[in-house]
Homo-oligomer: 207 residues x 2
DNA sequence: TGACATACCAGACAAATGTCTGCTATCGTC
DNA sequence: GACGATAGCAGACATTTGTCTGGTATGTCA
C-alpha cells in the first residue's frame, strides 16, 4: 500500500466530486473508492470528511449521496416561455420552448426567459432570436431594460420614467418610443441577462 | 384512502422530481412519498415506475436516488478563464473567475468561457464585459466568430479565410483587420454563445 | 527515540433506500 | 355483474450506502 504525498490525492478526490455534482449525479463514498481504486471504503470517506472539515465540501449526514458543494447549489434551469399571455402571469408550462440554465446566484428569484422577436433593441446588443432572462417583478427603475406587456404583446424596451409617465425606449433609430398609459402597460420584469446562440447546435433543447 | 383522477397526481410527481433534479438533488422514492403524503412507499414507486415506462423519466435500477431525466443531463458549469496563456492550453484552474452554466446539449464538448475586453466586436453584439462561451477546437470555418491567440493575447474576432490566408475581422469600424501569419496565430476555439449580465447581482459567482 | 499526524486498509454494523408480494377501493366498459 | 385498469395501502425483504472501530506504514518534529 503505497502512500501519496499529503493532500495530493485529496485534491483529485475534490475535483472528482465536483465533476459528478456538476453532472447532477452526486457520488456515493464507494463511487469515490472505486474511482480511485482504494481498497477500503474508509480511505475514500476519510478524504471526503476532511474536505468537509476544510469547508471545501458540504454534506447531509447519513443521507445517501449527501455530498454537495457548499454555498453553491447546482445551476437551475428556467423555462423559456414561447409567448406571454395577458392576465395570467403564471408560468404557462404548455407553450414552453425549452430551458436555459442560469447562474446559481439567483435561484431564489422568480425567473423566466423569453425569446426576442424584433430588432428594436439592437443598439443594446439584443438581437432577434436572442434569449433574455427576466426576473419577474412588477416595477423597475428608470434606465433598466424591462419586459413590458403593452396591448397583450410582450416587448423588450428600456424603461424611462419622465414626469411620472412611463416611456418605453427602443435602442434602434428605426423604432419609436412608446408612451403607454399606466393602464395599457404592465411591467412583467427586468432583463438581467442576454444570451445569443451563435451555433445552431448550442440552442436550447426542446423537451 | 381517497383516489385522485388518473394521471393527475403523477403529473405533480413528475414536476417534483424535475425540480429536485434541476436543483442537483435527486430524490429518493421515500422523498416523493413524503412530499405527497403517501402512506405507502409503493404508491410513490408506482408513479415513478410509470413515469419511467412512459419515457418521461429514466432510472438507474437499484441505485439510490437513481431517477434522472431521459436524455437531459443536468446543466454543466464551464470555467471562466481570466486569461488564456500561450502554449499551455490546459484549463488553468488557478486564474479562474467563476463558472457559467451551459446548455446540456453540448456537455460532451470541451468548453470554456472568456470575458471580453475590447469593443472590437460590438457590431456583432459582443460588448466589453460580456462572457463568450467557447468550444475548444483548432480550426474553424470562414465566417465564424473565433477566439484566436495572436502574439500571446487572446482576441475575439470573426474569422475569414481569403486566398488561404487567415484574416481576423473586427465588427467595429474603429478597429482594423488583423492578418497574422499562420505561425503568429493560433485558433483556440469557436464562440458558440454570448451572454451579457445586465444586472450586477446576476454576474457569475466567484468561488 | 517517542509522540503525533497522515494515508491507507480490513471488516463489521446500521441506517437509508430500492424492491417485492399481496391487499382494498374506485372507475369505466362489455 | 364480471372484468380489467388505476390509485393507493401495508409490511416484509434485500441491496446500497453511510458509519464505526481498530489496525499498519510512513513521515515530521521535538
Amino acid at each position: 500500500m503505497p502512500k501519496t504525498p499529503p493532500g495530493q490525492t485529496r485534491e483529485r478526490v475534490y475535483h472528482y466530486v465536483r465533476e459528478r455534482l456538476f453532472e447532477g449525479r452526486p457520488p456515493t463514498i464507494r463511487d469515490v473508492q472505486r474511482a480511485f481504486s482504494f481498497r477500503a471504503v474508509e480511505t475514500a470517506r476519510g478524504h471526503l470528511e476532511t474536505l468537509v472539515r476544510e469547508g471545501r465540501l458540504a454534506k447531509r449526514t447519513g443521507e445517501a449521496r449527501g455530498f454537495t458543494l457548499p454555498e453553491l447549489p447546482a445551476p437551475k434551469l428556467v423555462p423559456i416561455l414561447g409567448r406571454v399571455q395577458a392576465g395570467a402571469l403564471s408560468t404557462a408550462v404548455q407553450d414552453l420552448e425549452g430551458y436555459v440554465p442560469v447562474e446559481s446566484t439567483h435561484i431564489s428569484h422568480d425567473l423566466f426567459a423569453l425569446r426576442v422577436n424584433g430588432k428594436s433593441m439592437t443598439g443594446a446588443g439584443i438581437y432577434p432570436g436572442d434569449i433574455v432572462v427576466v426576473r419577474r417583478q412588477p416595477t423597475a427603475t428608470s434606465g433598466e431594460i424591462v419586459v413590458a406587456l403593452v396591448e397583450d404583446e410582450a416587448t423588450v424596451k428600456r424603461l424611462r420614467i419622465r414626469n411620472r409617465r412611463i416611456e418605453l425606449h427602443p435602442e434602434n433609430p428605426d423604432f419609436e418610443v412608446i408612451t403607454p398609459s399606466r393602464f395599457q402597460c404592465l411591467i412583467l420584469g427586468k432583463v438581467i441577462e442576454v444570451r445569443r446562440f451563435l451555433d445552431k447546435a448550442s440552442a436550447p433543447l426542446r423537451y
